[in-house]
């Protein structure tokens, strides 16, 4: 019971922190929409072309804009010592990684999920594809959160090269993008592709606590 209370307090704290820094999340979403505008201006406002490549554009930009906020995944807590206090309070490093991953999913990826319908209107995507887009992105964004946890914990001690973390996420998200765009474009093989996505999610979910926990431990020991 005490442990559950700690978890609830953890999420309450995350909620408070994200509420006070809500302009960061909103800036992410604005980045997403501004890049959609740029894409449309650079391709030309032809409706058929846009609806043909729209799904790919949405997925690329979701990936790019969710990697933008990776910097504050662990960095603030690491620098002001909160990570160490959480560990002293009985959370193992792997468990902190799991909690943080879900918090990143809730407070960074879910706003993107809510902004997908507006993007669909802008990009002239048919309404019946919206369900597939939601299904693929709700699984894909969890995978992206796990990958983000791994890469940002790797780069905690990296003071020189800030872009490295984003590139790590983008390399490993190549299969995610392939299969989730495949879901939307090939609706008849929906079941098999979504099973593959679930499989990737399970693999990443199993690796995440081990890899991020180990990196967090290393960085805290040597900072």
């Amino acid at each position: 019971m005490k442990f559950l209370k700690k978890i609830i307090f953890f999420y309450y704290r995350e909620y408070k922190l994200n509420l006070s820094g809500i302009q960061d999340i909103l800036t992410n979403i604005i980045f997403f929409f501004v890049s959609i505008f740029i894409f449309i201006f650079s391709i030309g406002p032809d409706k058929e072309t846009i609806s043909f490549i729209g799904v790919g554009i949405i997925w690329t930009l979701l990936l790019l804009s969710s990697t933008l906020s990776l910097r504050k995944f662990y960095q603030e807590d690491f620098e002001n010592g909160n990570l160490f206090i959480m560990h002293l309070n009985g959370f193992s490093f792997g468990f902190i990684a799991i909690l943080k991953t879900f918090s990143h999913f809730l407070f960074v990826q879910v706003p993107f999920l809510l902004s997908i319908p507006i993007a669909c209107i802008l990009l002239n995507i048919a309404n019946d594809k919206l369900f597939y887009l939601f299904a693929s992105f709700s699984i894909g964004s969890l995978i992206l959160s796990c990958l983000g946890s791994i890469s940002s914990s790797m780069n905690l001690m990296n003071q020189r090269n800030f872009l490295l973390g984003s590139v790590v996420v983008m390399i490993f998200s190549v299969p995610v993008v392939i299969f989730s765009v495949g879901i939307i474009n090939m609706e008849e093989s929906f079941n098999s592709l979504i099973n593959i996505l679930f499989g990737i999610l399970l693999i990443v979910f199993a690796i995440n606590p081990w890899a991020s926990g180990m990196c967090l431990k290393l960085s805290l020991e040597n900072s």
Binding site: N158, Q159, N161, V168, I203, M214, S219, N222
Partner: protein, 232 residues
């Protein structure tokens, strides 16, 4: 076999091995190039361009082999606390990157006359490109951390996570319907390649392996010396 995990034993062994390996590999290269240019037949479909295979295939094998050995050493280093694994990872990553680059460039040169384009977004080619980027990331990670202890362990973890890509590269030709031809030599049944083409390929493979080991010995020795000077 202690010289595989112990730096001082490795130094002793390397002093004995380096020169013979270099000479042997140069001889094998001369023999292999002779075989591949003059003593092997043209392909009935591909003509003379088939000779690119004698560089392309060994470098691709070695790119994969280097990553596999790096993965093994990462496991050794992280699980059994053998620091030689970290030295090995730091030293060998650029060699693997160069082999992958040779494989990509020679494949691209082979693809232009045969497929009509320099590059296709096909499963095998894409996964090899990702392998190359992973190698580059390992090198950049090695350069961008200031704390050595954190750096080498983080790089080892990254190598382990990135090794997911290895089976994808190997089996991509079987899993997806690709333009790249499936495995003809390294499959379980009898290889479907003619012996006259097999001979130069094997000679070139051994030449590549030996030159790879020779360069790796040089780089590992350099790494050991730089660590010693860093500690003292």
């Amino acid at each position: 076999m202690k010289f595989l995990v112990n730096p001082s034993k490795f130094n002793e062994m390397a002093d004995h091995l380096f020169r013979p390996l270099l000479i042997l590999s140069i001889m094998l290269f001369a023999l292999g190039l002779l075989f591949s240019f003059y003593l092997s037949p043209d392909d009935y479909q591909q003509g003379s361009t088939v000779r690119i295979m004698y560089v392309h295939v060994p470098s691709a094998w070695l790119a994969l082999l280097t990553y596999a050995i790096m993965t093994l050493y990462s496991i050794l280093a992280l699980a059994f606390r053998i620091p030689f694994g970290f030295i090995f990872n730091t030293a060998v990553a650029p060699i693997g990157a160069v082999f992958t680059l040779i494989c990509i460039i020679s494949g691209s040169l082979w693809g232009k006359p045969m497929w009509g384009t320099w590059w296709v977004w096909d499963a095998r080619l894409t996964s090899v490109a990702i392998l190359f980027i992973i190698y580059l990331m390992i090198i950049f990670m090695n350069l961008s951390f200031e704390n050595r202890v954190v750096r080498e362990k983080v790089v080892a973890i990254f190598i382990l996570v990135g090794s997911v890509n290895l089976p994808i590269v190997k089996f991509s030709v079987d899993w997806w319907n690709t333009l790249h031809q499936p495995a003809t030599i390294s499959k379980l049944s009898k290889p479907s390649i003619d012996p006259t083409m097999m001979t130069p390929l094997i000679i070139m493979t051994f030449a590549f392996i030996l030159i790879g080991i020779a360069i790796a010995i040089l780089r590992i020795k350099t790494e050991i010396i730089s660590r010693k000077s860093y500690l003292s």
